[in-house]
């Protein structure tokens, strides 16, 4: 009805804006080349590689044990997940079928704690992206408690190298279970606080609901996984659909985006799925913590990792989505090829599709809701 003037008549130009590699909201050294028309963004091109460390090539010169700490460093916000994913893939390569159940329990417990801590960062940083600073410090405060637990278990606070192929580096300390339960009791009411402060805030809803809607088919076409896919209403979770470790023993739901505040698959849904997933993780932890069996955590540890010739691909559900390790062994103690499918890389690729046509502020919102980690994208 109201025709917008043809741009060529008034001689208006589009402006190219470089967001990053040094920018507060690109979550690392990501560079976004944004073509803008006023405040409205018409095209976004993510330019990556500022953090490239030749992970895959480097691994070809490292023994299987030595790769584990480097795998941790890919997704530094969920290092336990990467360690677990790598351990599972090497076990598959070695043909280790059964692990002591104590090992599996400890792995699942730590993985779920890691999921909570990673989602805490995602939630807090998303708040920061839309301008709320207080939720960020609150979530980091609670994440610190999880990191304390990890420090007690592994001795490290960020990059653990704790889950080894075939077992664990150490056993749990005896006080861990009580401290973990104590933390859960403390943490559950905190989620309500975040909801009151951020999730249900009117301005927050205005900023994130209906913004950057990712329909289910778009998400599937781009290979989006993890909370971002589930935010689009697709109940796909490897823990349920291809259960690894002992996830089949636990009772938990896969939360999906329902479009409570807007359309299914908007930024608010992607955000809220993470909040709900923290609750599900607590559910799993409450089931797993009291029933850790006794046993030796290092009994299945192979003396020397020298797999037979062959290749495997294994998948794992990290906090950001489906991470895959393809390993080809040439019968030596180093892999001849290691390929990692990183979830954040695939999630980032959808950015232009879902945020073109929105404003600059919304690009930040969408980027925040996709929850990317540059260490994993660039590898």
């Amino acid at each position: 009805m109201y025709k917008i003037l043809d741009k060529s008549i008034i001689g208006a130009d589009e402006m190219v804006l470089n967001m990053g590699p040094q920018h507060p909201s690109t979550h690392g050294v990501l560079r976004l080349k944004i073509v803008t028309d006023g405040e409205v963004v018409s095209h976004i091109e993510p330019i990556i590689g500022y953090l490239h460390r030749c992970f895959e090539k480097h691994c070809e010169n490292l023994s299987y044990e030595q790769i584990a700490p480097f795998a941790d460093r890919c997704d530094y916000l969920a290092a336990m997940h990467m360690g677990h994913a790598y351990a599972i893939s090497v076990e598959k390569l070695l043909g280790i079928e059964e692990l002591p159940s104590r090992v599996e329990y400890i792995r699942v417990i730590l993985a779920e704690f890691q999921r909570i801590s990673s989602h805490l960062i995602a939630i807090g940083v998303f708040g920061l992206d839309v301008g709320a600073i207080t939720p960020f410090t609150w979530t980091l405060r609670d994440r610190e408690r999880i990191i304390d637990l990890f420090e007690q278990v592994t001795g490290a606070r960020l990059l653990y190298n704790y889950i080894w192929p075939g077992g664990l580096a150490h056993d749990l300390p005896p006080t861990f279970v009580n401290k973990a339960l104590e933390f859960l009791d403390y943490f559950e009411p905190q989620i309500e606080e975040y909801n009151n402060l951020l999730t249900t805030n009117k301005i927050f809803i205005e900023r994130s609901a209906d913004v950057g809607v990712m329909p289910k088919d778009v998400a599937i076409n781009y290979g989006v996984t993890g909370p971002s896919l589930r935010g689009s209403g697709m109940p796909f979770d490897l823990r349920k659909d291809e259960p690894y470790s002992i996830y089949s023993k636990f009772d938990f739901d896969v939360p999906i985006g329902e479009g409570l505040m807007g359309t299914v698959g908007d930024s608010w849904d992607r955000y809220y799925v993470k909040v709900l997933e923290m609750k599900e993780s607590i559910k799993i932890l409450r089931q797993a913590l009291p029933q850790i069996p006794d046993g030796d955590v290092q009994s299945a540890l192979p003396k020397k990792i020298r797999p037979k010739k062959g290749e495997i691909y294994s998948r794992y559900e990290t906090a950001r989505g489906d991470v895959g390790f393809y390993i080809r062994s040439g019968g030596k103690n180093t892999p001849t090829r290691l390929k990692m499918r990183s979830p954040a890389y695939c999630n980032l690729s959808v950015l232009n599709e879902i945020s073109a046509g929105w404003m600059i502020s919304d690009v930040i919102t969408v980027l925040g809701s996709l929850d990317i980690v540059l260490g994993e994208i660039d590898r």
Partner: protein, 168 residues
Amino acid sequence: MPIPDLGILLFLGLCGLIVGSAFMVVTSPNLVHSAVSLLFTFFGIAAIYIYLYADFIAATQVVVYVGGILVLIIFGVMLTNKIENATITSKTHNQIPGALFSGILLLLQFYAIFNTKWLVNDNPEKSSTVMDIGELLLGKYLLPFEVVSILLLSALIGAAMLSRKKVD
């Protein structure tokens, strides 16, 4: 040496400011610089209004010209040119006819100034002009006032129409 009246000095300073900055407006090759010079011109004129005990008009001058029109001018200058190469310039054309025309205008003004019988009030009343303005606007000049209001209203509606989102 007798101390000159500071009021006169200040007045002369203001006049200098107005004329100087107005000159800058015309001669500056950079459009944004011209717009900024205009800021000082407007301020100086507001100060002159204060000299006339017209405080309401002075404040209106600042609100409308500085806070509104000047902002829009700078806004427009900024938006209609590329920021990257920052070549916002203005050129002078038709210098001779322009000089002739303005010279004639100047002469006319001088003629008017020297042939007008100025009313000089030696003891101006230091009272607010707001009351008078209000009464005049809603009394004697009600019709023009309303006509102007309708003009502004239609301009407002027109602006809203133009800036509306495209509706399919």
